[in-house]
């Protein structure tokens, strides 16, 4: 008796029922799934078409990109040649013409340092960080301010445009983070004096709008200083911004500190670590990692807050745009100016946001719940 074993040969799978694949199915199931959704889809299409088409038409198709004559812009769409014409003023402001290389040098160094840190797996990063934190401000003072190596002094009131925005925000970011960490630790301290000082500092600065801080710095402060004693408005604004943002930063960091379980402190104590080493080696690395989104949030807010210096007469990038859109030689170019400002700010803020996400992924050690 011969036994034959039938091997199971599956039939080729049937094609999916007609009408359940392809673009038509997708459109029908996602966009025109019932009368309500169909109406919503049509409404959305109409909304997009009626806003996007004129916008693209204005911003790209009918826009003026080349040329130097303001009268070209009397007709047609957006006038981007205005931005092109005034770009030097937007970026460098009042910085004297022959000295622009000094700004470029400092900005170039900053871009190099940040770029080096942003690329993963490069050697020697632990030296680049302190070098950048110490080196960049020194470079800024030496080259942008001048007075050494035979460079003529460029007083801080001539720092303006995007340059000023970057200087203010980089200084704010670099100074506010350490100050915020110290304040956060102080607020959780066992020592009443330290704790009270930190609480008062944080609550006072956090409870006051930045505009009034800047106004105090620019209008009230000079009234109290002795006659003839003046320090530059940029410095005053810088100190105001650092104080203000460090109070915010302190609360963000404190949020991270509170998330660290008690066991971590006890384990560190069991290892014989003192307060500072417990904080520096065990608690802060975990706490700061937890609050990266909050820290970057504060940085982005700080970056945008620097535009408020406009009201105390400093020329940040928004103020330079503000000052040029009223130029009577040009037709009404306010929309182009503000759109340009928005794009500049978006590029920087989006960059910061992406960097923080990359950092979070890199420091991810598996405790994240998702």
């Amino acid at each position: 008796m011969s036994e034959t074993t039938d091997t199971f040969v599956p039939k080729p799978s049937l094609p999916p029922p007609s009408g359940s694949v392809g673009i038509t199915y997708w459109v029908r199931s996602r966009l025109f799934d019932g009368p309500v959704n169909s109406l919503l889809t049509l409404g959305a299409i109409w909304l997009l078409a009626s806003t996007l088409i004129p916008l693209i038409d204005w911003a790209v198709i009918e826009a003026h990109f080349i040329g130097t004559d303001p009268n070209l812009c009397r007709t047609g769409g957006a006038c981007w040649l205005f931005v092109d014409e005034r770009l030097r003023f937007f970026v460098y402001g009042f910085y004297p013409d022959g000295q622009l290389w000094r700004v470029n040098l400092v900005l170039g160094a900053a871009v190099l340092a940040i770029g080096y840190l942003a690329i993963p797996n490069l050697p020697g990063k632990r030296w680049v960080v302190p070098a950048a934190i110490v080196g960049l401000p020194v470079l800024t003072i030496l080259f942008m301010h001048g007075g050494v190596f035979g460079l003529p002094i460029v007083a801080t009131d001539q720092w303006s445009g995007l340059t000023l925005t970057l200087v203010l925000s980089v200084v704010g970011i670099v100074a506010a983070l350490p100050l915020g960490i110290v304040l956060a630790l102080g607020r959780r301290s066992q020592m009443p004096a330290v704790r009270i000082i930190c609480v008062v500092f944080i609550e006072v600065w956090r409870g006051v709008p930045l505009i009034s801080v800047l106004f105090m710095a620019s209008v009230m402060l000079p009234l109290f200083l002795p006659e003839g004693m003046q320090f530059s408005k940029v410095l005053r604004a810088m100190i105001g911004i650092v104080m203000f943002e460090s109070a915010y930063m302190a609360e963000v960091v404190r949020g991270g500190l509170q998330a660290i379980p008690r066991g971590q402190f006890e384990a560190a104590a069991a290892l014989g670590l003192g307060y500072w080493r417990t904080m520096a080696l065990v608690v802060l690395p975990q706490a700061l990692k937890l609050v990266i989104p909050g820290i970057v949030n504060t940085f982005i807010a700080l970056f945008k807050d620097t535009t408020l210096v406009l009201i105390i007469g400093l020329f940040d990038v928004l103020a330079t745009i503000h000052a040029t859109i009223v130029d009577p030689e040009w037709p009404d170019i306010a929309p182009e100016g503000y759109i340009f400002a928005a794009m500049v700010f978006w590029v920087f803020c989006f960059g910061m946001s992406r960097y923080s996400q990359a950092l979070e992924r890199k420091l991810h050690t598996g405790h994240k719940r998702n």
Binding site: R88, G93, D97, S218, V219, L223, T324, P328, P331
Partner: protein
């Protein structure tokens, strides 16, 4: 209780700080610094605005240059401090700037109550109206029932209400936050009329897609004499600032221009000779050189030249001289004689 002591102490400190007189003579301070510090507007085209290289120009800026030429002999030795409307007077009180040339209206309270002195008037401004030519309106008196675009929270808004009430006319105000928004409103037919200071109306008109379709009405409904300001209590500095302005007017009246100044120095007209320092010692009595008027005209020209270049027919604003013409030509500009 404690709080009230604090408040009193704070108030006293402010009072002391405010009352502190200008100690060192401003002239000496400026000379030893080698630079005049001049407070100007952030950006008001024609008055003071930075160009694409960050160089300042305008009629207020010209005044700063003229003063620097008088005091330091070099019109380029000016540091411009852009100030907004709120901080401008404080900046002068605290000595942060030497002179304020920032289209500041000369009012009694500012002149008498703040420890400041107005030097004179370098531009007679006033609130006016801009209408579309298609309306066919020739006078502000015909504006009954009009809708008016106006900037919120300014004295402009109050003057507008006063004017229409005084003339028994009705209007509807369309309020905007900034002056470029009022222009957008005007341009998109949200209103028939736009009101603002006349000096700004011309600037706004030039931004319209077709400026020739709008016109500025002749009526001026408020007095806004704009002029430079110095601190009270330094009479020498006040005199130099005042006579710099008067010299610019007198130069125009005498017909001295940037081009002909060297010929005019040889003039036999005693008025011109005194003005240019060829006769007498009027400048040195004030603490500057006798030929200070020559330095002014070489740096920025006479008042008329400066006016035409910055706000007048040679500028995009194209403002007519109007009230700012010399008294000999039907305006209000009248320089006291050099004698």
């Amino acid at each position: 209780m404690k709080a009230s002591y604090l408040a009193v102490g704070f108030g006293a400190l402010v009072a002391v700080a405010m009352a502190a007189p200008a100690s060192a003579a401003t002239l000496d301070t400026v000379k030893s610094r080698g630079q005049l510090i001049c407070g100007v507007n952030n950006s008001l085209p024609g008055f003071s605005a930075p160009d694409e290289k960050g160089q300042w120009s305008g009629i207020d800026v010209d005044y700063c240059k003229a003063l620097a030429a008088v005091v330091l002999g070099d019109a380029s030795k000016v540091k411009y401090v852009p100030l907004n409307a709120k901080e401008r007077l404080t900046a002068l009180q605290t000595g942060e700037i030497d002179v304020l040339a920032r289209n500041t209206t000369w009012t009694m309270s500012r002149d008498t109550g703040l420890g400041l002195s107005f030097v004179g008037v370098n531009y007679y401004d006033g609130q006016g109206f801009m209408v579309k030519k298609s309306l066919g309106v020739k006078s502000a008196k015909d504006l009954n029932g009009a809708s008016v675009c106006v900037q919120a929270g300014t004295t402009t808004e109050l003057n507008l209400a006063d004017y229409f009430r005084a003339n028994n006319m009705k209007y509807q105000s369309v309020v905007f936050d900034t002056s470029d928004q009022t222009l957008t409103g005007f341009n998109s037919d949200r209103c028939d009329v736009l009101t603002s200071d006349q000096s700004q109306l011309y600037g706004l008109r030039s931004k319209l897609p077709d400026p020739s379709k709008a016109e500025v009405l002749p009526e001026v409904i408020s007095k806004e004499p704009l002029g430079p300001v110095v601190r009270q209590g330094d009479d020498q500095w006040f005199n130099i600032a005042r006579w710099t302005l008067i010299a610019m007017l007198n130069l125009e009246e005498a017909g001295v221009t940037k081009k002909n100044v060297d010929e005019m120095l040889k003039s036999t007209n005693p008025d011109v000779r005194r003005l240019l320092g060829a006769d007498g010692d009027f400048g040195s009595k004030m603490g500057v050189t006798n030929d200070f008027a020559v330095k002014i005209v070489k740096a920025v020209g006479n008042y008329g030249e400066s006016f035409e270049k910055t706000v007048g027919m040679d500028s995009p604003l194209k403002i007519a001289r109007g009230l700012n013409a010399l008294w000999t030509k039907g305006g209000l500009m009248y320089g006291a004689p050099v004698r």
